[in-house]
Amino acid sequence: MPARRRSRRWPAIGRFIFLGLFVAFVLAPLYWMFVTSIKPSDDYLANPPVWFPAEPTTVHYTAALFAYRGLQGLINSLIVSSAATVLSVLIGTAMAYSLARFNTGGRHLSFWVLSQRFLPPIAVVLPIFLIYRGVGLHDTRLGLVIAYTVFTLPVSVWMMLAYFRSMPRSMEDAALVDGCTQWQAFWQVAVPLAAPGIAAAAVFAFIACWTEFFFALVLTSRTAFTLPTVFRAFLGFQGAQYGEASALAIVSLAPSIALGVLAQRHLVRGLTLGAIRG
């Protein structure tokens, strides 16, 4: 209903202009990044600007991926982010379920979990660095996976907690009476119904890991380094490597976009529709 009323108030033309401007606002930087990644170096800062290079080149891509070891960073990032996301969502879902359904830890535990996010990362990065060096986790993917899991967990828990709290309890009750154990009710009923929430939490966790810079910078060096840390190399004393930076940025965007498209289908599926009255 509100959408209808709005459409009557806003003539179609006005809406198209607004949306057009918005799309341009979002896409213009992306476009500029893309053309920069295929421009010869001389065209970066040319005046007037070069809207599309006369001779597109892929040289920046090969340089960023191989000379600057962007490919290694990409592989590390994929492994670390995926593993941390899976762990964070898995543990977060189980924790949130326990908080939502069994009131684990009373009223305060759930808030305590979220409050872990209030801590500035810089406060803990040095102790973690020292511990990691001591136990041999420094510059390992495992070390980064553990750190990322811990740091994305509060948000995963809170997203899933909100989701479980909004989910009617009666389906799990029905499963328990029907013959499920508590564990089966969780896996066979609650988790499938929470799939849209899990997808959303996974997207959040993955993007947080994918773009994380600070921990990666401190906790890795020559082996387990992730994609964001590679970008440091493009800002050297001899000037910025705009082409290489843009090329690697384009590469690093791909998984986020793919994930967004994949998860979007889950997010809009509206699984709980029809479960209850309506």
Partner: protein, 366 residues
């Protein structure tokens, strides 16, 4: 099939005392309705029987076995929920078979049972659909099918019809009654709807504030309510309560309703001898106890009064008319042609044989 025996049951949620000492025996095959206003503890009691809530105190026995520490899945009960609680990610067929699958029954046996139950409930064409593709009534049928396919010892219903529209509710109510006749399994049914309670129950347990206010057959509760609360809860339109005092004169006994100058004579023995003259009481009159006066001699226990009709509510077959007896308003159930408009003065006949009388302070029946 099994009986249920509950003794000294309490359930607390933190400081909130939801169920406050329930003693209840439900015979094998009996249809018991737990009824009461919202928040009276009836759903909590049902969920405690199902094992979805843990009793704080007291014992629950099903089929002679104490089940306080038995998991819901091992109590062999089936439950139908108010919001149906169908699994939205499963088809109707898998919804109905879910409990059997969880119990590792062989697939061909599951298929056979699901088809038989679907046939019983007339939902065979829906087996391949998902819950979101069903109407409210169809969903309710699937929920019932999911319960009966397991052939449990006890059925629990938690307000199963309250989300349906009036017509469908009448229809499903009939089906549940027929189901009980067919399978004769113990059923415990929670509702806040007194009509459901009256029509379905072998026995009604009327609850209030976590306690049992009265239990008995529907007729017992309706005709001999133990308290003003019970009398007011059952029956629609509800009973009128007229405050007054007891008068004793010439060996007879009557009630002088406040604001009236004529005592209403009660049948002998209607009030215990111990109640003194002047005692404050509430006279409870159901609309059907007050009708248009007919010609001829007055039957014993009936009184005639002339009343000014203040409000007329026709329902088609009958008309409910508000009149004043003394100071208090009361309702009469009349034939449609007995009264045409407010302001009319007509002769009414009150059947005091069936009137209820309550102590004004304690509100318990005398």
């Amino acid at each position: 099939m099994a009986d249920v025996k509950i003794s000294g049951l309490h359930k607390r949620f933190g400081p909130f005392h939801a169920v406050q000492g329930i003693d209840l025996e439900i015979a094998d095959g009996e249809f018991t309705v737990l009824v009461g206003p919202s928040g009276c503890g009836k759903s909590t009691l049902l969920r405690t029987i199902a094992g979805l809530e843990q009793a704080s105190e007291g014992t629950i026995m099903i089929g002679g076995e104490v089940v306080n520490d038995v998991r819901p899945r091992d109590r062999d009960v089936a439950m139908v929920f108010q919001d149906y609680a169908l699994y939205p990610h499963l088809t109707v067929e898998r919804n109905i078979g879910f409990g059997l699958r969880a119990r590792k029954m062989p697939a061909d046996e599951i298929g056979r049972r699901v088809r038989r139950v679907a046939g019983m409930l007339g939902i065979t064409p829906l087996l391949g659909r998902y819950p979101r593709q069903l109407s409210g009534g169809q969903r309710q049928r699937v929920a019932i099918g999911r319960a009966i396919v397991r052939e449990p010892q006890i059925f629990l219903f938690d307000e199963p019809l309250s989300n349906l529209d009036a017509q469908l509710r009448d229809e499903m109510r009939g089906e549940i009654k027929r189901l009980h006749q067919d399978i004769a399994t113990t059923m415990i049914y929670v509702t806040h709807d007194q009509i459901e309670a009256m029509t379905l129950a072998d026995r009604i347990v009327l609850m209030r504030d976590g306690r049992i206010e009265q239990m008995g057959t529907p007729a017992e509760l309706f005709e001999r309510p133990a308290s003003r609360f019970v009398a007011g809860f059952l029956g629609s339109p509800r009973m009128s309560f007229l405050p007054g005092s007891v008068v004793r004169r010439d060996g007879g006994i009557g009630i002088l309703v406040d604001g009236s100058d004529m005592p209403l004579p009660l049948p002998a023995g209607r009030i215990p001898e111990s109640v003194p003259a002047g005692a404050r009481v509430l006279l409870g009159l159901r609309p059907e106890h007050v009708g248009r006066a007919r010609d001829g001699a007055l039957q014993s226990g009936f009184v005639r009064i002339d009343a000014t009709i203040e409000l007329v509510q026709p329902t088609g077959s009958r008309t409910f008319a508000t009149f004043r007896l003394g100071e208090a308003p009361a309702l009469a159930e009349l034939q449609a042609h007995d009264v045409s408009r407010a302001g009319e003065v007509i002769a009414l006949e009150i059947n005091l044989n069936r009137a209820s009388i309550f102590d004004e302070d304690t509100e318990r029946a005398l």
